[in-house]
C-alpha cells in the first residue's frame, strides 16, 4: 500500500490523539454497560411447622391406605398413597384376590375424580331457576321435608344409584322403605346386563371366572374382555397369565364385526356381522348349517369350518359371549351350552369362583319404565346418585325431558353432569376415596372401603345424609341408631376393633348386607332394525367407559388402544368404505340413524367390516359435565330405544345407519405417526412352533464392516472401551466409576426393565400410571395451545402437533406391506397381525442423547440410569433429535405454571402432584426416569434399616400397574432379581440394537399361535 492515499493528515496530533486514560475510560464504561447481570431474588416463602403434628403423619413420608376402587363395578382393591394428608397415587392392592395388585387406567384416574376441578364445592339448591350454594343443615332440612311429604302423602318417588356392590345399596333400600319408597334402581350403562342375566340362568352365576391358562383355545364372540367390558382387570390378568406361559398358551380367536383391542390380541379374526354371532354358535351346536351362518355373518365358510374344527379338537376351550346386540342374551345362552357340550365348565369356566359385579344391576328397560312413570307425572321426588342417565340413555328415550318434569329432583352425585344439572337440590357425596363402604366382589369376601383423606370439598357421605334424615324422622329414628355409616359398618363387622383390624388389608371374610332384589319385570322394547346401508356399532370407550371418565384429563389424553385417537370422536370405517364415500381421514361425515345424527371426522380403520362403521361412546357431553367432558361428539344420540329381547339390556351393537360426506374436515387427533414398522424390527414376534424349535430369530440389521453390536458388557453400563465393540481393547483396565468392580460401588447395580410382548395387550394402564406418578401434564385441552393467532384450535390441538407428554407410550403396529387404508377387505382371508409395544426411555448404556447436550443436563449415572437434570436444561432439544426411540418430551408451554392458561393442573388437580417429582417448567426436556424417586426412596429406606435391597423389593409405576404383568423392573446386575432372569430369555431382544445404544430395556418377542393347519403348512 502506498502511504500517501489519504490527504491532509498532517498536524492532526492534537485532534486525533487518544490518551491511554481516555481509552481506558471508554473501555470501562462500555464494559460496565454490557455487564448488566440479572440476578432474580425470587419470592421469599415461609415454612410453617406443625405445632401439634397430626397422628401418623410425618412430613415427607407417605402413608398407605387400603380401600376399594369404585370406578367400575368390579371392586378391585386399592392401596392409596397419601402424603401429608393428600392422596397422591392409587395402586392395586397385591393382597386383593380380584386385581392382585394390578390396576387399570380408569382405576388410576380415580384420583382425578377426587380432585376434579369441576366437582361440587358444597350443597346447592335451586333458587329462581339457578343453583345456589347453601348449608348442609338447610339442604338436609329440605330433603327431610320432601321425604316427609312423600311419606305422608304416599306419593311416588324413586332413587337411581350408580350400580355398586356392597352394603350401601341395602342401606338405601332400608331407608327408602321407611318412607314407603320402592327399592332403588341400580343403574350402570356399562353393565353387560343381557350377558350377565343369561349367564346367571346358564351357569348359576352372572360372571363366572374364566381360567384362560387352563385352556388351549379361547374363542370370543364379541366379548371385549380386554377393552373394559365386564370386570377388566381380573379378565386381563387371567388372559395375560395364560398367554405369558408361551408353551401351552392358548390360541385365541375373535369373532366380531369390529376388531376391538381384544380382537387385536387374538391370533385370528373372523369378522362376522354384528348380531350374526348367534347364528354361528347355533351352527356350531348343530342347529343349522355353517354355510348359512357364514352367509349371514358375511365371512368365508372356510373360516367357520376352521373354527368348528378347532373347537372340536381343543382339549380345553373357553368360549365367551359378549356384545351389546339385541340378541346378546340369546348368544350368551347358546355359548354356555357350547361350553357345557365341550365340558369346559369346571375346566376353564368356574361359576363357583364367580364375580358378583353385575348382580342386581338394572336393565335399560327398567330405566324406560321409570321414564314412563316420570312422564306420567306419578313421581314427585326422584333422587339420583352417581349415575348419569340423562347422558347415558339414548336421547330418543326422553329421560332428560321426563326427569325435568318431576317436581323435585335431588342429586347425591359428587361431580356435576347432565342429570345433576336438572336437579333442584344437590347434596354432593364424598368421592369413593373419601368414603366408608364395602364391596363383596367375590361371594364371601368383603373388600372394605375407607377414607384415604379428609374430604377435598364440603361434601358429605350420602349414607350419612340419609341416616341423618332418617334420624330426624321420629318413626325411623329407632331403626337407624348408628351414629354414621362407619358405625353402621363397624356394627356389621362385629365392632370397631374388627373394622380396624380388617382395614390393614381392607379384605375380610364376610358378606355385604343383602339388598332387596329388584322385582320389577319390564317387557323389553322391541328391537327396531332401523334403516340405512351401514351397520353402526357404538361401543363403550376402553378409556372413558360410558362417559364417566370424560371429565378426567388423564383419560381424555390416554389414546384409545385401538385407534390411538384422543380428545376426539371419530367415525371408524374400512378403507373401502372411505373410498366409497369419497372421504379420507379427518373429512367430516354425518352418521344418521332413525334416532338421530352426529357429524364427526372419518377415520380409516382396517379392523372393521366394510359394511360396518363404529363410533366410541363417552365423549361430547354437555357443558354441565365439566370443562373436559365436552370434547368430541355424543354417539348416544344415534341410539334407538332398542333392548335385548330377554333382559331388556341396552343395545349398543347393531343399528342401521346412513353415512354421508359432510362439509369440512379436521385433523385426526392421534399419537400415531406411521402405523407400520417399515421393516425396522421394533415390535418383534415369533410363532410358537419356531420358538419351540429354537428357531425364533432375534432380528436386527447388520451392515457389512460394522462392528458387532452384541452386548459385550451384558446389561451393565458400558465404559468407553466397551462401547468400541469388537474394536475395543479387551484387557483395558480403564473403566473408571462405571466399572462394577470400582471401589465406590457406584456401578454395582444396573437398573433395567423387561417387557414381555407375549403378555402385553396394549391396554395402556402403564401410561396413566406414569402420568399419575410423574406429574406429567395433559396438553390436549382446547385452552392449552397458543393464545394469540393460534394456528390450531380445539381439543387435541397440541396433540395434532405431536406434543403429547406421555413418557411411556403404547405403539401399535399393523404388520402390513402397505398403508392400512389401501388394504382390501377379503371375507375369506380377513386377518392381519397387530403388535403392541410400550416405548419409554431405554436408558441406553451408550446413549446418543448424552454427548450432544451442551450443558450436561442429561448424563449417565453409573447405575445405568440416563439422568435428566431439569434444572440444568436450557432446552436446545438436541437430545430429542438424537434419540432414535424418540422418547424425550419437551415442555412447549408453561404447563406447570398456575398463572398460565396452559396450566395442566387447575385447582385442586394439583393436590395430586407427587411431591417427590418436580413439576417441570416451560422450555425444558423431560423423559422417563425409571421412577428414580422410587429407586431413591427404596435405597434410602434400606439404608435407614441397615440392610440391603431385597430382590424385587420395589418397582416402577408402570410395572406396578400393568394388568398384564408384562413389565418387570429391577437390578439386572443381581441374578436374584426377576429382571436379570427375564433379560436372558430366549425371546429377549433390544430395539435398534444395530445403533449400538446398549439399551436397558429388553423386550421379549410376542408369540403368535397360528391355526394348527396353517402352522403345519408353514
Amino acid at each position: 500500500m502506498t502511504p500517501d492515499t489519504t490527504e491532509a493528515t498532517q498536524g492532526t496530533e492534537e485532534r486525533a490523539a487518544v490518551k491511554r486514560r481516555e481509552f481506558l475510560k471508554v473501555l470501562g464504561v462500555s464494559t460496565a454497560a454490557t455487564a448488566a447481570v440479572g440476578c432474580g431474588t425470587g419470592e421469599v416463602e415461609k415454612l410453617i411447622p406443625y405445632l401439634v403434628s397430626p397422628d401418623n403423619t410425618v412430613p415427607g413420608v407417605s402413608n398407605y391406605y387400603a380401600t376399594t376402587c369404585r370406578e367400575c363395578s368390579a371392586g378391585c382393591g386399592l392401596i392409596v398413597e397419601v402424603r401429608d394428608g393428600r392422596a397422591i397415587k392409587a395402586e392395586g392392592n397385591p393382597a386383593h384376590p380380584v386385581n392382585r395388585g394390578a390396576l387399570c387406567a380408569r382405576g388410576q384416574s380415580s384420583l382425578q375424580g377426587l380432585y376434579n376441578p369441576d366437582r361440587f364445592r358444597g350443597p346447592m339448591k335451586r333458587e329462581g331457576g339457578s343453583l345456589v350454594a347453601t348449608t348442609w343443615d338447610d339442604a338436609i332440612g329440605i330433603l327431610a321435608q320432601k321425604l316427609g311429604e312423600v311419606k305422608s302423602r304416599r306419593a311416588g318417588a324413586a332413587f337411581i344409584n350408580q350400580h355398586e356392590q356392597g352394603s350401601f345399596p341395602a342401606l338405601i333400600d332400608q331407608i327408602l322403605s321407611g318412607y314407603g319408597i320402592p327399592a332403588h334402581l341400580s343403574y350402570d350403562a356399562e353393565a353387560p346386563v343381557a350377558t350377565a342375566q343369561a349367564n346367571r340362568a346358564a351357569y348359576g352365576a352372572s360372571w363366572p371366572h374364566h381360567e384362560f391358562s387352563a385352556a388351549d383355545l379361547i374363542v370370543s364372540f364379541s366379548a371385549d374382555f380386554l377393552d373394559g367390558w365386564g370386570v377388566p382387570v381380573p379378565q386381563q390378568l387371567a388372559f395375560a397369565e395364560a398367554r405369558g406361559k408361551v408353551e401351552g398358551a392358548p390360541r385365541f380367536i375373535y369373532v366380531g364385526a369390529r376388531r376391538s383391542l381384544t380382537g387385536l390380541n387374538a391370533d385370528q379374526w373372523i369378522p362376522a356381522r354384528a348380531g350374526s354371532e348367534l347364528a354361528i354358535v347355533n351352527a356350531l351346536l348343530g342347529r343349522g348349517s355353517l354355510a348359512a351362518a357364514a352367509e349371514q355373518a358375511g365371512v368365508g365358510v372356510a373360516l367357520l369350518e376352521g373354527l368348528q374344527a378347532e373347537i372340536r379338537n381343543a382339549e380345553a376351550s373357553a368360549v365367551i359371549a359378549g356384545g351389546y346386540t339385541p340378541n346378546a342374551g340369546e348368544l350368551a345362552t347358546a355359548v354356555a351350552e357350547l361350553n357345557r357340550q365341550r365340558g369346559s365348565i369346571g375346566k376353564t369356566i368356574f361359576p363357583d369362583r364367580a364375580l358378583t359385579a353385575f348382580d342386581g344391576v338394572a336393565s335399560l328397560a327398567e330405566v324406560r319404565a321409570l321414564t314412563q312413570r316420570m312422564n306420567a307425572g306419578s313421581l314427585e321426588l326422584v333422587m339420583v346418585r352417581g349415575a348419569n342417565p340423562a347422558y347415558t340413555t339414548p336421547p330418543s328415550l326422553g329421560f332428560a325431558a321426563a326427569f325435568a318434569k318431576v317436581p323435585f329432583k335431588v342429586a347425591f352425585s359428587s361431580i356435576p353432569d347432565e342429570t345433576t344439572a336438572l336437579c333442584d337440590l344437590i347434596l354432593p357425596d364424598h368421592h369413593g376415596l373419601e368414603s366408608w363402604g364395602d364391596a363383596e366382589p367375590v361371594r364371601g369376601l368383603l373388600s372394605l372401603q375407607q377414607p384415604t383423606m379428609d374430604p377435598v370439598f364440603d361434601s358429605r357421605s350420602t349414607a350419612d345424609v340419609l341416616l341423618a334424615v332418617a334420624k330426624s324422622d321420629p318413626q325411623l329414628a329407632q331403626r337407624f341408631r348408628a351414629a354414621d355409616y362407619r358405625a353402621w359398618l363397624a356394627e356389621r363387622l362385629g365392632g370397631n376393633a374388627n373394622l380396624r383390624t380388617a382395614l390393614t388389608s381392607a379384605i375380610t371374610r364376610g358378606s355385604a348386607a343383602t339388598r332387596t332384589a329388584s322385582t320389577a319385570r319390564v317387557a323389553p322394547a322391541p328391537a327396531a332394525a332401523g334403516t340405512g346401508d351401514y351397520q353402526l356399532i357404538t361401543y363403550l370407550s376402553p378409556t372413558l367407559g360410558d362417559g364417566r371418565g370424560a371429565n378426567k384429563p388423564w383419560l381424555q389424553e390416554l389414546p384409545d388402544p385401538v385407534t390411538k385417537t384422543l380428545w376426539q370422536t371419530v367415525v371408524e370405517m374400512h378403507g373401502e368404505t372411505a373410498i366409497a364415500l369419497g372421504v379420507e381421514d379427518g373429512d367430516h361425515v354425518t352418521v344418521t340413524t332413525d334416532a338421530g345424527s352426529i357429524t364427526a371426522p372419518a377415520f380409516v380403520y382396517i379392523g372393521i367390516r366394510p359394511d360396518t362403521i363404529a363410533i366410541a361412546l363417552g365423549r361430547g357431553q354437555g357443558e354441565a359435565a365439566g370443562r373436559y367432558a365436552i370434547a368430541g361428539e355424543n354417539a348416544y344420540k344415534l341410539g334407538a330405544v332398542t333392548e335385548d329381547a330377554r333382559s331388556g339390556a341396552a343395545v349398543y351393537g347393531a343399528t342401521r345407519a346412513r353415512v354421508a360426506r359432510a362439509n369440512g374436515s379436521e385433523r385426526i387427533v392421534t399419537i400415531e405417526g406411521s402405523g407400520r414398522q417399515h421393516g425396522r424390527n421394533i415390535a418383534q414376534a415369533t410363532t410358537i412352533a419356531a420358538l419351540l424349535a429354537g428357531e425364533n430369530e432375534v432380528k436386527h440389521h447388520h451392515f457389512d464392516g460394522q462392528a458387532s453390536t452384541d452386548f459385550l458388557p451384558g446389561l451393565r453400563s458400558p465404559v468407553a472401551n466397551d462401547a468400541q465393540g469388537e474394536f475395543g481393547v479387551k484387557d483395558s483396565k480403564d473403566k473408571g466409576q462405571y466399572d462394577p468392580e470400582h471401589w465406590s460401588g457406584a456401578a454395582k447395580r444396573r437398573w433395567a426393565m423387561t417387557v414381555d410382548l407375549a403378555k402385553c395387550t396394549g391396554c395402556s394402564a402403564c401410561v396413566t400410571a406414569c402420568y399419575a406418578e410423574n406429574n406429567i401434564p395433559t396438553v390436549g385441552a382446547s385452552w392449552q395451545g397458543a393464545q394469540i393467532l393460534p394456528d390450531r384450535t380445539g381439543f387435541g390441538a397440541n396433540i395434532t402437533r405431536s406434543r403429547e407428554m406421555a413418557w411411556i407410550r403404547l405403539e401399535r403396529y399393523w404388520e402390513l406391506d402397505r398403508e392400512p387404508k389401501d388394504v382390501k377387505f377379503d371375507a375369506d382371508h380377513p386377518d392381519f397381525e397387530t403388535r403392541f409395544i410400550p416405548m419409554m426411555c431405554q436408558h441406553c448404556g451408550n446413549a446418543p442423547c448424552e454427548p450432544v447436550c451442551p450443558v450436561y443436563a442429561t448424563y449417565h449415572a453409573p447405575n445405568g440410569l440416563n439422568v435428566q437434570v431439569y434444572n440444568r436444561c436450557v432446552g436446545t432439544r438436541y437430545c430429542s433429535n438424537n434419540c432414535p426411540y424418540k422418547v424425550r418430551y419437551y415442555n412447549w408451554f408453561g404447563y406447570g405454571d398456575p398463572s398460565r392458561t396452559q396450566y395442566a393442573f387447575p385447582e385442586p388437580l394439583h393436590w395430586q402432584l407427587n411431591p417427590d417429582v418436580t413439576v417441570r417448567q416451560k422450555g425444558i426436556m423431560e423423559k422417563c426416569t425409571f421412577c428414580v424417586q422410587r429407586i431413591k426412596e427404596a435405597e434410602n429406606r434400606v439404608a435407614l434399616e441397615g440392610r440391603d435391597l431385597e430382590p424385587d423389593e420395589f418397582t416402577t409405576a408402570c410395572a406396578q400397574a400393568c394388568p398384564s404383568r408384562a413389565i418387570i423392573f429391577g437390578d439386572a446386575a443381581d441374578e436374584n432379581w426377576s429382571v436379570a432372569k427375564w433379560a436372558k430369555d430366549r425371546r429377549a431382544y433390544h430395539v435398534f440394537q444395530e445403533l449400538n445404544t446398549y439399551t436397558a430395556v429388553v423386550y421379549l418377542q410376542k408369540v403368535n399361535h397360528p391355526a394348527p393347519a396353517a402352522s403345519a403348512n408353514a
Binding site: 502511504p3 400415531e672 446418543p848 447436550c853 432446552g875 438436541y878 424418540k886
Partner: protein
C-alpha cells in the same frame, strides 16, 4: 463477443479476475473520496428502507417477546421435529457470512483484484450476518435467559459445558468468528475513518472518528504496521472460513439421525456457505451499484468474476447432493435409504425440488458469459439462490427429523406466524445494521481503490498498454 454490450467505461479484457483489474472510469483520488463519501448523505429512499427494516425488526422483537412469554409452543415445532425455522435461519445466516470473509481474506491473500471494490460491503455483511446468526441459537432454546450456561465461565457450581457437544463447539466457532471478522472489518476501516475524520466539521463526531481511527496520522510507519496487521488478520480469518461452517455442520453430522450422520457435511456446508454468501453479496451490491451510481467501481468484470465463483460452488454443492444420494444407496442402511426417498419423492418432495432447482439447476445458466455479465439476471438468480440455500437447510433439518428411525413418531412440520415473524425480523435486523453502516462509513475501501487508481504525478505515464 460482438454481441456483448460493452459500456464505454468498461475495460477491454472482461475475463481477468486478477490483481491488475482496472477501473478506467476512476481517474483521481479526489474522485474516489468524493464519489464514495457522497453516499454517506442520507436520502429519503434510505430513510424509507430503514423504516421498512425497523418495521421487520419490530415484528421480530414482538414475536420473540411473545415466544419467551408463552413458550416455544407458539412456534411450529412438531416433535420429533425439534429444530425448525430458527436453526435453519441460523445456519443460513452463518453461511451468508462466509462469502464476506472469503472475499476479504482469502481473495486478498490470493491477490484477486475483483475483490477490491466489493470486499468492504461483503465484510460488513459478514459481521452483520454473524450478529444475526448468533441470535438464533438463543431464540431457539427453551430458556433463553440461561443461554450463558453454554459458555465456559468459572462458577461456584464447578460446572463446565459439555465439550463433547457440537453445540458448545458452535459457541466457540460463532464467538471466534464474530470477534475476528469484526476486528478485521474494523482494522481495514482505520485509514478510511481517518479520511472521514479529516473531512468532519462537527467537533464531537470528529473526536469520535479520531478515537475510532486510533489517531491515524498517515505516516510511513503506520502504513507499514497497518499492512502487516491486515495481512495477519487475513491469514487468521482464512481458516475460519473453512472451520466455522464445518463446526456448524457438526451440529448435524455428529447426530445419528438418518440424513445427518454423514462425513460429507463439512465440505458440503462450506461450499454451500460460500455459494449462499456470494448470492447475498449480489443481492446487496447489485442494487447498491445502481442506486449509488457505483457502476464504474463494481464493474461487470467484477460481477463476472464473482459469478464464476458462484458457478464453481454451485457445482460443488450439486456434487455433494448427488454424493449424498449415492452414499445413502451404497451404504445399504435402510433408514438412510428410506429417508432419502422420502426427502425427494415422498412427503418433502417440494422442499427438495426447490433446493435442487435453485442451487443446482438455475446456477448452470452462469456458464453463459452473457448472463454472467447481466446484473439483472444475477440479481434474480441471487434471490433464487438465497431461497434455495434456505431450503437446503430446511431439507437437512426438517425431513430428517420428521422421518427418523422410529416410524411411530414420524410427523410433519408447519411453521407458525411466530417462526415467520422471527425470520422476517432477522432480515430487518441485518438490513438495519447494513443501512446504518452505509451512511456512517465508506462502503468501499477508499485506500484500496486508490491503490488501483494511477497516482496524480504519474498521470502522464501510461500504466497499461491498452490505454
Amino acid at each position: 463477443m460482438a454481441t456483448l454490450v460493452q459500456p464505454a467505461d468498461e475495460p477491454r479484457r472482461p475475463n481477468i479476475a486478477s490483481a491488475d483489474i482496472q477501473l478506467p472510469a476512476v481517474t483521481s483520488y479526489e474522485q474516489v473520496d468524493n464519489e464514495i463519501l457522497s453516499i454517506l448523505k442520507p436520502t429519503k429512499a434510505w430513510f424509507g428502507g430503514l423504516l421498512i427494516a425497523l418495521a421487520c425488526l419490530g415484528l421480530g422483537i414482538f414475536s420473540w417477546g411473545y415466544q419467551i412469554h408463552q413458550g416455544l409452543g407458539v412456534a411450529g415445532y412438531n416433535p420429533p421435529v425439534m429444530w425448525g425455522v430458527y436453526i435453519i435461519t441460523f445456519v443460513f445466516w452463518v453461511g451468508i457470512g462466509h462469502a464476506g470473509t472469503l472475499i476479504s481474506a482469502i481473495l486478498y491473500l490470493f491477490r484477486a483484484g475483483f475483490r477490491t471494490t466489493i470486499y468492504r460491503a461483503a465484510e460488513a455483511m459478514t459481521v452483520f450476518a454473524v450478529m444475526t446468526a448468533g441470535l438464533f441459537p438463543i431464540i431457539h432454546i427453551g430458556r433463553p435467559w440461561k443461554f450463558f450456561w453454554l459458555i465456559p465461565y468459572p462458577n461456584w457450581r464447578l460446572l463446565w459445558p459439555n465439550f463433547k457437544s457440537p453445540l458448545v463447539w458452535d459457541v466457540f466457532a460463532i464467538t471466534t468468528y464474530l470477534t475476528i471478522s469484526t476486528t478485521f472489518l474494523f482494522v481495514g476501516l482505520i485509514p478510511d475513518i481517518a479520511v472521514l475524520r479529516d473531512r468532519e466539521t462537527n467537533p464531537i463526531r470528529k473526536k469520535l472518528l479520531g478515537f475510532l481511527s486510533f489517531g491515524w496520522r498517515n505516516s510511513e510507519r503506520e502504513w507499514r504496521h497497518f499492512a502487516r496487521a491486515y495481512l495477519f488478520l487475513a491469514a487468521f480469518s482464512t481458516p475460519l472460513v473453512l472451520s466455522v461452517h464445518s463446526v456448524v455442520s457438526f451440529d448435524f453430522a455428529m447426530g445419528i439421525v438418518p440424513g445427518w450422520h454423514t462425513t460429507i457435511f463439512p465440505p458440503y456446508f462450506v461450499a454451500g456457505a460460500i455459494f449462499s454468501g456470494f448470492a447475498m453479496v449480489w443481492t446487496i451490491i447489485i442494487p447498491m451499484r445502481r442506486w449509488f451510481g457505483l457502476k464504474h467501481y463494481v464493474t461487470l468484470n467484477h460481477l463476472d468474476a464473482s459469478a464464476k465463483m458462484v458457478l464453481f460452488t454451485s457445482l460443488v454443492v450439486g456434487c455433494a447432493y448427488i454424493v449424498e444420494f449415492f452414499i445413502a444407496w451404497y451404504g445399504g442402511i435402510p433408514y438412510e435409504q428410506d429417508y432419502f426417498w422420502n426427502r425427494v419423492f415422498g412427503q418433502w418432495w417440494w422442499a427438495a425440488w426447490i433446493m435442487l432447482t435453485c442451487n443446482m439447476i438455475l446456477p448452470l445458466s452462469l456458464f453463459s458469459q452473457k448472463l454472467r455479465r447481466n446484473p439483472a439476471w444475477l440479481f434474480i438468480l441471487s434471490i433464487f439462490i438465497n431461497i434455495g440455500m434456505w431450503f437446503e437447510r430446511f431439507v437437512i433439518v426438517v425431513p430428517s427429523l420428521s422421518h427418523d428411525v422410529n416410524p411411530w413418531q414420524w410427523s410433519s412440520y408447519v411453521p407458525t406466524w411466530v417462526d415467520y415473524g422471527l425470520l422476517i425480523g432477522s432480515f430487518g435486523w441485518f438490513f438495519m445494521w447494513f443501512l446504518l453502516f452505509v451512511k456512517q462509513l465508506p462502503i468501499m475501501a477508499l485506500a484500496e481503490i486508490k491503490e488501483i487508481v494511477p497516482p496524480k504525478m504519474k498521470k502522464a505515464h501510461s500504466h497499461h498498454g491498452g490505454h
